[in-house]
């Protein structure tokens, strides 16, 4: 499949690329200020223009990192996660790209007590923290596109913290942790599962006393069980 990863030089962009590159034809793009010469990343401002239209043309899926993408002040973050995501999605719709994936965070549900069985059916409780607010609005834009336009969108709410390493590495990160290997597996499995209207999936590593239930992810993309086995093979 042809997959476009935005914010490719951010931490999560690199994690997504690592999860996808071996199995797919991946194009990496980032804003010009984050691109260095010969790093294999296409510089693009994700504006409403022909360059963005051309970037998404022919893609089977796009991956738009929200959390742990590039840092900035509130104005920059809000602009990036609302206007730029809107631009990318509009370009996708116009080009017939069938599936767009937004990488969000389970931190939007952090206010619920640990004893609660928090799933995708619990209302997000974002804070006014700049990044949380921006990510919450990014989810909003992706949701409305799925509701009204001929494109499927998937929100992957990723566990926190995102810990470098394999699944065992997450054990040291707490009950909501996500290992980078698992993040890559989940992103790849989501791309391969293709879109299904609008879907929200919670993704964390299967650590002891895991805070978030993963039933929907298991059913939709086989994470963590099947995806993990696939990686083991």
């Amino acid at each position: 499949m042809k997959v476009l990863v935005t914010s490719a030089n951010s931490r999560l962009g690199k994690i997504a690329a690592a999860g996808l590159t071996s199995a797919h034809d991946v194009t990496l793009t980032d804003l010009p200020q984050f691109v260095e010469a010969n790093d294999g990343v296409v510089a693009n401002d994700l504006n409403h223009d022909d360059a963005t239209d051309g970037l998404v043309s022919g893609m089977d899926a796009i991956v738009f990192p929200g959390i742990e993408a590039h840092a900035g002040d509130a104005s920059w973050l809000l602009d990036h996660h609302t206007r730029r995501s809107y631009n990318v999605l509009r370009a996708c719709v116009d080009a017939g790209v069938p599936h767009a994936i937004y990488l969000s965070t389970l931190l939007v549900l952090d206010d619920y007590e640990e004893r609660l069985t928090v799933t995708e059916r619990w209302r997000p409780l974002p804070s006014t923290d700049d990044e949380m607010l921006a990510v919450h609005l990014g989810e909003y834009v992706f949701r409305e596109y799925a509701r009204e336009e001929p494109i499927s969108t998937t929100i992957l709410r990723l566990g926190f913290p995102i810990v470098d390493g394999d699944r065992d590495s997450a054990n040291a990160g707490g009950t909501a942790a996500l290992a980078t290997d698992d993040a890559g597996l989940a992103i790849n499995a989501t791309v391969e599962a293709e879109g299904s209207g609008y879907r929200v999936l919670h993704i964390q590593s299967p650590v002891p006393n895991a805070r978030y239930l993963l039933g929907d992810a298991e059913a939709a993309i086989g994470f963590p069980v099947a995806a993990g086995e696939g990686a083991a093979r």
């Binding site: 609302t82 409780l125 009204e148």
Partner: protein, 249 residues
């Protein structure tokens, strides 16, 4: 009450200023020059520093700013403008924020084309039209702030405005017997709704974040304006009958 008005030279601005000007101390702002007897500052609502500075010493902020066609500026004004208003409120301890926007920032095509009796308390479905979604995102920002901080946000939704006597519509002359978008109101009634939102005691608001459909009493039953009447005590005086009735010979 000392009130900051953002976007004071917009469509609704003159009516609101006329209504509130004799009862409150107004600081009127707009991105454009404005000839007014009130304290005036030129402010770009998309500029955080300008909004925060303009809000100093105020008791309430009314955001009437709007930008429709340009994609970049629409996000700057309609979405980030509300963020800037919220930060200004936090900075200066301002607890009353009045937000305005079109009805379809809440009731987008998936509601309006399918349903009747549409309430302002429905979960928003703005869809992807630029104006609708940028305003809806701005409203969502204020909702998050209201849930987290000690501020009261009232969002008043409008759509079509008419001259009360002539039934003239901004896009043309009188529209006698042509029917109307069933979310229409006279300019003066619209401004009166803003006054109700400004003057209602916080204790009479059920929550810190409330949304109201502001249109006159109409027979269509497409939307529901009862919440504005019962909670805000708003009573429209102009019913625009000439537009939605026709002569029978």
């Amino acid at each position: 009450m000392k009130i900051l008005i953002l976007g004071g030279n917009g469509m609704l601005g003159p009516s609101v200023i006329d209504n509130l000007g004799s009862r409150h101390e107004l600081r009127v702002t707009d991105i454009n020059e404005l000839d007014t007897e009130h304290d005036y500052r030129q402010v770009d609502v998309a500029n955080l520093d300008q909004v925060v500075s303009a809000a100093e010493g105020m008791d309430a902020i009314i955001n009437l700013s709007v930008l429709r066609p340009d994609r970049k500026i629409a996000f700057d004004v309609n979405t980030r403008g509300n963020y800037n208003m919220a930060i200004a409120a936090r900075t200066h301890g301002i607890r009353r924020l009045i937000n305005t926007g079109p009805h379809f920032q809440l009731a987008g095509p998936n509601y309006e084309e399918f349903n009747f009796e549409l309430s302002p308390d429905m979960p928003p479905q703005p869809g992807t039209r630029l104006y609708a979604i940028t305003k809806a995102l701005g409203q969502e920002i204020l909702k998050v702030f209201a849930e987290r901080e000690d501020i009261y946000v009232q969002t008043l939704l409008f759509y079509n405005f008419y001259e009360a006597e002539s039934l003239a519509h901004p896009s043309g002359g009188p529209r006698i017997g042509t029917d109307l978008t069933p979310f229409s109101v006279s300019w003066t009634d619209a401004a009166q709704a803003i006054r109700c939102a400004v003057e209602i005691p916080f204790g009479q608001l059920p929550t810190r974040c409330e949304t109201y459909n502001i249109f006159t009493d109409l027979p269509h039953q497409k939307f529901d304006n009862r919440k504005a009447r019962t909670q805000l005590g708003w009573q429209p005086r102009h019913f625009l009958e000439g537009v939605w009735t026709k002569p029978i010979t």
